[in-house]
Symmetry: C2
Subunit: 256 residues, 2 copies
C-alpha cells in the first residue's frame, strides 16, 4: 500500500489524539454525572431525615413551652431550604450536565462513520492506484515487441487493437478516479467538520467544569449559610426554653 | 371490698398520671433516637457522596490548571468537616440520648413490680379485714346463748373452750396482720421511690430535649458555616480557572 503524504499522516495522528481526548472527556463527564446523581439522592435522603427530626422536635414541644411557634417556622424554613437547594442543584448543575453530555452520542457516531468513510476512500484510492500501476506496465509493453495476437492480425489492423486496449484501460481508470474523488469528498467533509468540532468540544470542557462546580459551590455556600442561620435561631429558642425551665415560677414544667 | 382512704385514692390517680407521662416520655425518646439514627445514616451517605464529587473534581483537574493544590486542600477539608460533624453528632447527641433512654428499662420493670406488690398488699389486707369482720361476728355470738358443745360440756369446762376459740382466732388475725404490714411495707418502699423518681424523670425531659437539640443546632451551625466558607474557597479557585481559560496566552487550554 502506498503511504499517505507526510501532511496526511500528521493529520491522522492529530485526529487520533482528538479521539483520545473525546473519550477521556466523555468518561469524565459520565462519571461526574453519575456522582452528581448520587449526591442529589443523598441530598434528598438527608432532607427527609432532617424533616423527620424537626417534626420530632415539634411533637415533643409542649403547648405551654415558650417558642413553640418558632419551632414551626424553623421546621418550615428547614424544609424550604432543602427543597430549594435540591431543586437548584438539579436545574443549575444536573440539567446543564445533561445538555453537555447530550452532544456526545452524535459526535461519537460521526467519528465511527468517518472511520468507515476513510475505509471507502482508502479502498477507492488503492483501486485507482493499482490501475495506474497497470497503465505504467502497459506503457512499458507498448515499447516492447508486439503480442502474438497482434502478430497474427493483418498489419493494417494492429494499430486499432492497440488503440482499443488503451481506450478500455483509460475508461476503467477514469471511473476509478471518479470513485476515488467522490469517496475522498465524502470523507473530507466529515473529517473537516470533526477536525473543527472535536478541539472545540475539548476546549469547552474547562468552561463546563467551571460552570458546574461553580454552580455547586455557589448553591452549597448559600445553603450552608442559611442553614447555619436557621440553627442559630433554633439555638436561641432552646436557650429561652432552658431559662424558662430554670425559673421556679414556671408552671410549664410541673410534673402533671 | 373496703375502699382505700380518700388520700390513698388521690395518690393512686396521681401515680397513674405519672405512669402515663412515663410512657409518653419513653415513646418520645425512642422516636427521637430512631430519627437521630436515621439522620446520622443520611449524614454518612451524604459525606460519601460529597467525597466522591470532590474526588471527581480532582480527577478532571488537569496538572497545568491553576489552583490544583487548592482543590486537594478543599477536598481534604471537606472530608474532615463531614467526619468531625458526624462524630460530634454521635458523641454529643446520640450517646447522651442512649444514656437518657438507658434509665427507662429499670424504671419500667420497677413500675410493673410495684403493681405486683400492690396486688400482694391488697390481698393481705382483704384477708386481715375478713378475719376482723369474723371477730366482730364472734363477739356478737359470745353475747348470745352458748353452743350445744358448751351446753354438753361440764360447767367448769365451758369457759376454757370459749378461751381456746378466742385464742385461735386471735392468732390467725395476728398472722394476717403481720402479713398485711409486711406486704404494705414492701409496696410502700417501692411506691415512695417511684413517686419521687417518676416526676423527677419527667421533669428531666425538658433539659434533655434542650441539650439534645441545642447540641444538634450548635453542631449544624458550625458545620454549615465552615462548609459555606469552603465552598466560597472552591468558588474562588474556579473563578481563577475561568479567568485563566479566557486568556489567549494560556497554553493550558490548547486542544492537544
Amino acid at each position: 500500500l502506498q503511504k499517505l503524504g507526510k501532511a496526511d499522516e500528521t493529520k491522522d495522528i492529530q485526529f487520533e489524539q482528538f479521539v483520545l481526548n473525546f473519550s477521556k472527556q466523555l468518561t469524565e463527564g459520565s462519571k461526574l454525572q453519575k456522582d452528581l446523581r448520587t449526591y442529589l439522592a443523598s441530598v434528598k435522603a438527608m432532607h427527609e431525615a432532617s424533616k423527620k427530626l424537626t417534626e420530632c422536635l415539634q411533637d415533643i414541644y409542649e403547648p405551654d413551652w415558650p417558642g413553640r411557634e418558632d419551632t414551626y417556622r424553623i421546621a418550615e424554613n428547614n424544609d424550604l431550604l432543602w427543597t430549594d437547594y435540591h431543586q437548584k442543584l438539579v436545574d443549575q448543575a444536573l440539567l446543564t450536565m445533561d445538555t453537555y453530555l447530550g452532544q456526545f452520542p452524535d459526535i461519537k457516531s460521526r467519528i465511527a462513520k468517518r472511520g468507515r468513510k476513510l475505509v471507502d476512500y482508502d479502498s477507492a484510492r488503492h483501486h485507482y492506484e493499482s490501475l495506474q500501476n497497470a497503465k505504467k506496465k502497459d506503457d512499458a509493453k507498448i515499447a516492447k515487441p508486439v503480442s502474438l495476437l497482434e502478430k497474427a492480425a493483418p498489419q493494417w489492423c494492429q494499430g486499432k487493437i492497440q488503440a482499443h486496449l488503451v481506450a478500455q484501460t483509460n475508461l476503467l481508470r477514469n471511473q476509478a478516479e471518479e470513485e476515488m474523488v467522490k469517496t475522498q469528498k465524502v470523507f473530507e467533509e466529515m473529517n473537516t467538520d470533526l477536525q473543527e468540532e472535536l478541539p472545540s468540544l475539548w476546549n469547552s470542557r474547562v468552561g463546563f467544569y467551571v460552570n458546574t462546580f461553580q454552580s455547586i459551590a455557589g448553591l452549597e455556600e448559600n445553603f450552608h449559610r442559611e442553614m447555619g442561620k436557621l440553627h442559630q435561631n433554633l439555638n436561641d429558642v432552646l436557650v429561652t426554653l432552658d431559662e424558662q425551665q430554670g425559673k421556679p415560677s414556671a408552671n410549664a414544667f410541673t410534673a402533671i
